[in-house]
């Protein structure tokens, strides 16, 4: 009897799906495995996910479930989950059980061990998909993917930092789109180096406003839980929404950060924030505190703290953040996302937050840069209303 072909898929997270897809595609034995690209996030995803998830579980779980059901319905039979910190560490087991109870037939692999990354075990797991996979090939592809993710983060951070200063709107979006297409198509480290050179060349060519003369631009930092930070759909494209209002956005949490910097920096963070914390808060809570202090030091105008409903580490961080906000007189807005959050509500709050920061800044600089209710504002509203491509 001919052995059934594996059809592999995985949950989405921001634009990271592209390098991950590329890695899997290059690792597996195509005579026995196909890779299915997970469907784009939509309302349908979260509806499917919430229907089968425990009500009080946090949002990432529900999105993951939605992703899984969508690919299973499309014929996938081999699911990959990451595993990792806080409650997330137990997701894989619960999700597998729920999906089995729903009657789906599939193989399920959780990549990380509860204690963290175990390269040898990881290799064994990937070999399920390619019996002839040598360790050298495995190592090469994983490193390539990590490098690709690093580049992706660098490019996206650069764009976030400069988006506001773009003179001809849409240039960055175009470069980003092309870059994403290319990053899912690299075979060797040389390709990546070439891509990097190419994309940086294009990025540097984008004409920017003189940063000195655009001092009035409002700067906002985004802190909080990792999934909502990195998956724009789950926060109704919060960053783009802010950018459309004319705000410069800074965000620390990226996969690069989580993979390489997080482990090393916890102690540093606690030391840096020792006025407020003595020990780690778990998951991303410690970073939320330390990064807030850093943003204040860097002169940011406001901070937005985001989390899925019920995220315990971030709830722990909130009272400390409130104290910091009071002592440093910096506004922090807390946004909680769940499957039923209304987009209008978020828009209203962001708009009000923006108005407030503008008023504050005008007062501080004693010049009237942008007046509330000015034509510019009306234009921004129009821009919002008529949308921009996501």
């Amino acid at each position: 009897m001919k052995k059934k072909k594996y059809i592999v898929s995985f949950p989405r997270l921001g634009n990271y799906v592209y390098p991950i897809y590329n890695m899997l595609d290059r690792l597996v034995d195509h005579s026995m495995v196909d890779i299915m690209f997970p469907k784009s996030m939509s309302k349908n995803t979260i509806e499917l996910g919430s229907n089968v998830s425990p009500d009080f579980v946090c949002l990432p779980f529900k999105y993951n479930m939605g992703n899984f059901i969508e690919v299973l319905e499309n014929g996938a039979n081999f699911l990959i989950q990451a595993g990792g910190g806080c409650r997330y560490g137990y997701y894989a087991e619960v999700q597998e059980q729920i999906l089995r109870d729903l009657g789906y037939d599939f193989t399920y692999v959780s990549l990380l061990e509860p204690e963290g990354i175990n390269v040898k075990k990881l290799y064994e797991k990937v070999r399920l998909l390619n019996l002839n996979l040598s360790f050298a090939k495995f190592a090469k592809e994983v490193i390539l993917a990590i490098k690709a993710i690093e580049l992706l983060d660098k490019v996206e951070t650069y764009i976030r930092d400069n988006y506001m200063y773009e003179i001809k709107k849409g240039e960055f979006d175009k470069i980003h789109k092309d870059f994403i297409k290319n990053v899912s198509n690299i075979s060797f480290i040389q390709d990546l180096i070439k891509l990097k050179k190419n994309v940086y060349k294009r990025l540097k060519l984008v004409k920017l406003l003189d940063k000195q003369s655009s001092k009035h631009i409002i700067k906002v930092g985004i802190i909080g839980e990792l999934y909502t930070s990195m998956e724009p759909f789950s926060t109704f494209y919060l960053e783009k929404e802010l950018a459309s209002l004319g705000v410069k956005v800074k965000r620390y949490t990226t996969v690069t950060y989580l993979l390489f910097k997080k482990g090393k920096s916890i102690k540093k963070h606690i030391k840096y924030a020792n006025k407020y914390i003595d020990y780690a808060l778990g998951a991303d809570g410690t970073e939320s505190i330390a990064h807030t202090l850093e943003l204040i030091e860097k002169g940011y105008d406001g901070i937005i703290h985001i989390k899925p409903f019920g995220c315990t580490p971030e709830i722990n961080a909130i009272p400390i953040l409130q104290k910091i906000a009071q002592e440093n007189e910096i506004p922090i807005m807390y946004l909680t996302f769940d499957s039923q959050t209304s987009q209008t509500g978020i828009k209203t709050r962001l708009e009000a937050f923006y108005d407030m920061l503008v008023m504050k800044k005008n007062m501080k600089m004693e010049t009237k840069c942008i007046e509330i209710g000015s034509k510019e504002n009306r234009l921004n509203y129009d821009k919002q209303k008529y949308g921009f491509q996501n």
Partner: protein, 324 residues
């Protein structure tokens, strides 16, 4: 010729509108229930404004129209407003024009509640309830109905109580079960109602005021500010005077009227017709099939001509050019 500005605040429960002159004085105002149809409510308030102005023999030249509240985008389109502003900014600007020294604005409306902190006349912090309508006007009106009391009388009845019942403040469901339970074991109606008023205050302070300093002068507004029971409870808990303006319910409309004034820099007269009653506005709901988000698009027609589309996440659905 004098210049006048219109501000309309279309909330979930009530619709408020004002006409102001260039010195921010309210010339005419109206306050009615929205009753689920913002367009009809707007037509009604505009008609009333017109009648008031005619009675006062004011020939009105409109130089600015602003809309705020949860239906601000829809009504912004209908009235062809020059400013559409969120209610937080509108409330802050409106209140500042009446109380320039205000430091704290407490606002409890039909479905949401807000806390706005100001310093030297600018907003420095705010909070707005999320995810839950506990402790808002909707809770009060449903409990009033349960107790068979008119919502307007709730406050005065509460003041009669000498020993308010303790009602859970955390969650509407818990509050309601507390209420039912205490009613059944014989608590007096006025004690229960005073308990509800207290619970609204505690819920508000627990949810919104966490980590925020409430300083004098405190101004309380929104529909619930008309309830003296809640006002007294705020005074008692905050241990400070709480100001409720007679036109506290109009602050959002006033604010957005002032914003529309500031926005009309070149001072050109707007082409505004008070007789919108005769114009037929129709909204048609449809689903965009551009992608799997299936956004619900609302198309607004004015006398059969499409004037706006809204509700889409991208311009695929919102674009007026393409049909979906």
């Amino acid at each position: 010729m004098d210049k006048y500005y219109i501000g309309v605040d279309i909330g979930s429960i009530s619709t408020k509108a004002v006409v102001i002159d260039s010195n921010n004085n309210i010339i005419a105002s109206e306050y009615i229930w929205t009753e689920g149809s913002p367009i009809e409510a707007t037509k009604k308030v505009v008609k009333t404004l017109k009648n008031i102005l005619e009675k006062k023999k004011i020939k009105c030249n409109i130089y600015g129209i602003g809309t705020t509240g949860s239906a601000r985008n829809l009504i912004g389109t209908v009235l062809n407003a020059n400013v559409v502003k969120n209610e937080i900014t509108a409330h802050a600007i409106g209140t500042l024009s009446v109380y320039p020294d205000v430091k704290t604005i407490l606002e409890i409306g039909g479905q949401d509640s807000k806390l706005i902190i100001l310093k030297n006349g600018i907003v420095v912090d705010y909070a707005m309830n999320t995810l839950c309508a506990a402790g808002t006007g909707a809770f009060l009106s449903s409990q009033a109905k349960r107790l068979g009391v008119n919502i307007e009388d709730l406050g005065n009845i509460a003041l009669m109580s000498k020993n308010p019942s303790k009602i859970a403040a955390r969650c509407t469901v818990f509050a309601e079960s507390d209420l039912v339970h205490k009613a059944q074991i014989g608590h007096k109606k006025e004690d229960l109602i005073a308990g509800i008023c207290n619970s609204v205050v505690h819920n508000y302070l627990n949810n919104l005021a966490k980590g925020k300093k409430i300083e004098d002068r405190v101004v309380f507004q929104g529909g619930v500010s008309k309830n003296v029971g809640v006002v007294e409870a705020f005074k008692r808990v905050l241990k400070t005077e709480v100001y409720v303006d007679t036109s506290s319910h109009l602050m959002g409309a006033l604010g957005v009227a002032i914003i529309s004034k500031n926005a009309n820099k070149n001072g050109s007269k707007l082409d505004f017709n008070f007789d919108i009653d005769n114009i037929e506005f129709k909204t048609v709901g449809s689903q965009c099939s551009g992608c799997s988000n299936n956004c619900e698009i609302v198309s607004v027609y004015k006398d059969g001509i499409l004037i706006d589309k809204m509700g889409g996440r991208c311009d695929k659905g919102n674009s007026l050019r393409k049909t979906i």
